[in-house]
């Protein structure tokens, strides 16, 4: 069972499986024989001393534990304590050490620690990846022009505040009737009782229409193929549960959205295999790289169930062109695997490049549709992450059936659906919103990129999303993850700017940073630049 990790790992491949018992034995053998291996002799002493120390340590720790509970914990993993990051690997080989650590984290009451599941006990220690730490810092000390001018400016959260005023105005005029009435009499009995967990049909129709609109009517979506979920986060997780078993894997091009590690892997026990994209290709997806990763996985005995792409991609902001999408479909067909296409930013394109949905590609192809599943949501394109509206769109009836049932664990709220039915049916509003939002995103993007350029920071040309994916490798002290994190830390704590370091996105090249610009106002940009400038010390 995959342990959840909120601390970063940099490895391009998932950790190897280790059996707990085997690992412990190996440790005991390696250390004592070190002297022998190094040709320095001392077989006896070389064995005895380390062994003695080792066992002493165990004994010391044993004395400080409660027995029955610990017995529980060691049995409970039962499974292989798989995929621990290298830094914690030795923890599983020193069971005593693990136990006393976990006990330190229990509530201070100190009466017979009752254990929690192995699958989550790992993550309690975590929560310290830069991605989450940065978000926390902003919460504690948020920048405000008037009230807190020295606070931390948020560039680490992909929220779109640029067009919220439009939504707000609409709601101010229409919310009340929209939630309860929808033109009919005010009635709670319409929205209060049990509804289909996968969403009201009326709402699905509205969402299908909206999806079509943001994708410039290049494709139409069938409401009956929609399963609504409480945000795109559970949509991804549900698809993971449906398409892969514990221990299977998905191929995911890097750099990718940090949240995938949680959404795809945490409770499902499914692996992610990183498929590195490079700056030389402007971080575009390469089918050859996919193929290589697939074969490597096969050699290692890992069963790949699908590919997860994000289009537009996060953080690089690339759009996948038609040719690539067709090639991807060919690849999936050849390997008989699924494709999950995360299109949550489809309506937030930049520049004039054409967005092509996977739905459009399979429009003609009957046989391949069953392997294609699209994830969407209203958090980005409509700026409503709080309302929790996510979409699974699939052509596969079995997946549809399973996802519908699973949506009960992550269902959208009825009054919110009613509210949004009204909003999305107001075609004039939607059109205005999409156009205005596009203009504002453009403007903000251009300004941010220009500001960064002035400081010698180049970025990939983004075709979609709220980010600027910038190369700051010229400013890190060492060309490594360590150097990158150091810079991130300085930017956060000295510059008071929260950005996302590329390592959180598993970028194979150090020094890349993700800047979200949709949380800023135009006034913020010069301030952001000033603060970054303060921190930068060119290495060369």
């Amino acid at each position: 069972m995959t342990q959840t990790r909120y601390y970063r790992t940099r490895s391009p491949e998932p950790e190897k499986e280790k059996t707990g018992g085997g690992g412990g034995t190996a440790m005991r053998v390696i250390v004592p024989l070190q002297g022998v291996v190094q040709g320095r002799g001392g077989l006896v002493l070389g064995s005895i001393i380390p062994c003695a120390l080792f066992y002493f340590l165990q004994f010391y720790l044993k004395r400080n534990r409660d027995d029955p509970d610990d017995k529980n914990e060691s049995n409970s993993t039962g499974q292989n304590p798989t995929t621990r990051s290298p830094s914690s690997e030795h923890l599983t080989e020193l069971p005593g050490l693990t136990r006393s650590l976990s006990r330190a984290l229990l509530s201070p009451r100190n009466s017979g620690p009752v254990s929690i599941s192995a699958r989550v006990s790992g993550i309690v220690k975590g929560g310290d990846s830069p991605y989450y730490m940065g978000l926390k810092r902003v919460k504690e000390d948020p920048y405000d022009e008037l009230d807190n001018p020295n606070g931390v400016i948020q560039l680490g959260l992909a929220e779109n505040k640029l067009s919220l005023d439009l939504v707000k105005d609409w709601l101010a005029e229409n919310a009340r009737e929209a939630i309860l009435g929808n033109g009919k009499e005010l009635s709670i009995s319409g929205i209060a009782p049990y509804q289909p967990f996968d969403g009201l049909m009326e709402f699905k129709v509205a969402v299908a229409g909206f999806m079509s609109q943001v994708m410039e009517n290049a494709v139409s979506f069938n409401p009956s193929q929609i399963v609504l979920t409480a945000g795109a986060t559970p949509a991804i997780e549900i698809l993971s549960f449906c398409l892969a078993d514990t221990g299977n894997a998905f191929l995911v091009p890097t750099p990718y959205y940090p949240g995938f590690d949680r959404d795809v892997k945490w409770r499902t026990g499914v692996e992610i295999i990183h498929v590195p994209c490079r700056s030389a290709d402007n971080f575009h997806l390469s089918i050859a790289a996919l193929d290589r990763s697939f074969n490597q996985a096969k050699k290692r005995g890992l069963k790949v169930r699908g590919v997860i792409i994000s289009n537009p991609s996060n953080p690089a902001g690339n759009l996948l062109n038609r040719e690539t999408l067709y090639s991807l479909l060919d690849f999936a067909r050849e390997k008989n695997i699924h494709i999950i296409s995360n299109e949550i930013l489809a309506g937030s394109t930049l520049g004039n490049e054409e967005f092509v949905s996977m739905a459009e590609i399979v429009d003609q192809e009957d046989t391949d549709r069953k392997r294609v599943h699209i994830v969407y949501g209203l958090s980005k394109d409509l700026s409503l992450p709080g309302f929790r509206v996510g979409v699974i769109y699939t052509f596969n009836e079995d997946v549809l059936a399973a996802a519908r049932k699973l949506s009960r664990f992550s269902a959208t709220s009825a009054p919110t659906q009613c509210l949004l039915i009204s909003m999305l049916s107001d075609t004039k509003f939607v059109r205005t919103f999409i156009t205005t939002n596009w203009e504002r995103l453009q403007r903000m993007y251009v300004q941010l990129v220009a500001g960064l350029e002035k400081m010698g920071i180049k970025s990939i040309k983004s075709s979609g999303g709220f980010y600027c994916w910038a190369d700051m490798s010229g400013f890190i002290s060492s060309y490594s993850e360590k150097g990158e994190v150091e810079l991130w830390d300085k930017l956060l704590n000295i510059g008071k700017v929260n950005v996302t370091p590329g390592s959180c996105c598993h970028c194979i090249e150090p020094g890349w940073f993700r800047f979200c610009f949709a949380t800023l106002t135009e006034k913020d940009i010069p301030i952001v630049m000033e603060r970054i400038q303060k921190v930068l010390k060119p290495v060369n």
């Binding site: 599941s117 919310a175 209060a192 449906c242 299977n248 409770r267 664990f409 709220s413 009825a414 919110t416």
Partner: protein, 438 residues
Amino acid sequence: MAIEIEQPRVGLSKVAVSKTHGEDSPYFAGWKAYDENPYHETSNQSGVIQMGLAENQVSFDLLEKYLEEHSEASSWGKGAPGFRENALFQDYHGLKSFRQAMASFMEQIRGGRAKFDPDRIVLTAGATAANELLTFILADPGDALLIPTPYYPGFDRDLRWRTGVNIVPIHCDSSNNFQITPEAMEAAYQSAESMNLKVRGILITNPSNPLGATIQRSALEQILDFAVNKNIHLVSDEIYSGSTFSSSEFISIAEILETRGYKDAERVHIVYSLSKDLGLPGFRVGTIYSYNDQVVTTARRMSSFTLISSQTQHLLACMLSNKEFSENYIKTNRERLSKRYDMIIKGLKKAGIECLKGNAGLFCWMNLSPLLEKPTRESELALWKVILNEVKLNISPGSSCHCSEPGWFRVCFANMSEQTLEIALERIRKFMEQRKRN
């Protein structure tokens, strides 16, 4: 001519194809029958009356009145500071005002006999999600939870499906009104051990579904002692706590903990929701209240998969923090449920049917064992089919609740108007008369 090449079907996971969702069982089959031929007062008087869904529709008018008189709950108005923050708010801590409102509502339901700290409340989209989440946190795949029978059929799906955790039943029977005994708990524990299943917790529903009765103080003490003794968790699903007919009869595990000075509290977790007490299942509002810091932190992070819409939180925060509204609601709702309960019990008695003495919930636990041909599950299901197809009532057979004694049925009474309930009782009466004659 195109050559037909057989395409290898792209496979799905075991979770996706498993039947653990349980929707092929009679519990859900009855619902299908209802969906195909639903009763309607005017347009379909011979349709199936739904008595298998525990929904509370008796107090809608109170909710409607509140919303009409308080527009600030369902809107943000011009210039209201709330909207922007609300629309963007996806923090898994949840709106503080909403958590405070939930904590105080939970205290009110318990007559102030227990205190709830808003910072220990984790929000989920419904109790279904809360129960599954807790299971993910407290147990690993292959482990077991002990659950007293009869229990809510949905548990088989909610606690087992994606989690891979097993349920081992604690058998209760009518000899002592289905109360949970230490012997039964021990027997279940041993049974799990003999199957090599590691028991991680015991999950009780209080008030009980489907029994419609609160768990007595002495039993709660014994259950807590048992959990301490075995060093396992105790989950108390108190989703019907606001639906007790009299406020004094419900004792929450929180009260037991209070009297014990919160010793052993870190193994206790309470699940609550507004779906039953407030009749708002469509809103998707559930909570986990845990006395264990680690569980609270983990549950909060995991709740990312099941957040409550911020708009809904805002609406309900307004409503529930209005003391006048909430006090009146709780009181009135109780009275109406109590009245309904009396009505159905009397009606069933007139038809010659006895029920378990209940004091809470949206249903009663009816004993039709005298009608069974044989005291078997098959006979029970045969009777259930007859009631569904001939009497046109969808009620829930005890076997779908894993009741060890055949012949018991759960009958919901709060999801319909009084008139409809009268009609249902009339149909039952006629049915019983016919059986007597034959």
